[in-house]
Symmetry: C2
Subunit: 167 residues, 2 copies
């Protein structure tokens, strides 16, 4: 957990964000997951079939959430977007209650936890975004992250961000 | 937005929760969605097929999140769980980038926003939980909510709560 000093201004509602946003970016750059990202606010949810075969949540730190809600198409430096994913599990207990097979829930963590960190200078070579992935807290090989950028670069008109905010 | 007075204690990280939890419960009882619930922290995500046909996120206020993380099987009074849902939309733009059909995202809000409010005295007749649903901010007919309890009552060993916390 981040050390929290003093009072949180009323427009800063996330958690790890009670510590300066830079701390999270610095930790990611240092090969560590940022403290408290699991407390960040929800951007959206999704289901990926195919090889990924997961159900996922996309969370944002304060700067990211603010940008989304402002309707920006260009995220400010300091914005961080986190993608969590879990196995897509049929829920037998839910189905039993519903009386039919219809319910799929998040199971075990899957496909790592991924982050996009906006820093237009530091990550200028990859569209202003740094990409990171952690598996059980351990950083993925940076060379494996090139494919993140290659794919995200296809969505330039939305500043390389696929996820839209779920109202 | 709730009026925020003073400093948020460091263990209170949600948003609307910066206002007393009771405010959210009172608003729900008063037929209004609680301020700031969209900022609450994520409990889990799910996909419902069938008539519901949605993708959903379950969020919790501070008391609910704390209870989940403490591994409780009985939620304290003041815990509130919110269920948001959206249409389950194939994402053509994501699929184009992936090069195949695999991506489903949250579309428009669907099936209302539902809340479970724990108050063991006030809602003693329904297992200690009050159930509410809002569609475009308007409360659903209380008589329509009996079915919420009827179904949730089937999962008594988990205090009527279906959603498990997604790690």
């Amino acid at each position: 957990m981040a050390v929290i000093a003093g009072c949180a201004p009323s427009d800063r509602r996330g958690t790890s964000d009670l510590a300066p946003t830079g701390d999270a970016a610095a930790r990611i750059a240092d090969g560590k997951p940022p403290a408290g990202y699991r407390d960040w606010r929800l951007i959206s949810v999704a289901r990926e079939e195919g090889d990924l075969d997961d159900i996922r949540a996309v969370l944002g730190n304060d700067a990211a959430i603010r940008a989304y809600r402002d309707g920006t198409t260009s995220f400010p430096d300091g914005a961080i977007i986190a993608r969590l994913a879990w196995s897509f599990d049929a829920s037998e207990e839910n189905n039993k209650s519903f009386g039919r097979r219809q319910s799929y829930v998040a199971g075990v963590p899957k496909n790592g936890v991924q982050f996009m960190v906006k820093d237009s200078k530091k990550y200028a070579a990859t569209g202003g975004w740094g990409f990171a992935e952690f598996n059980d807290g351990k950083p993925a090989d940076p060379s494996a992250l090139q494919s993140c950028y290659d794919c995200h670069a296809r969505i330039k008109d939305r500043d390389l961000v696929f996820s839209r905010y779920a109202p």
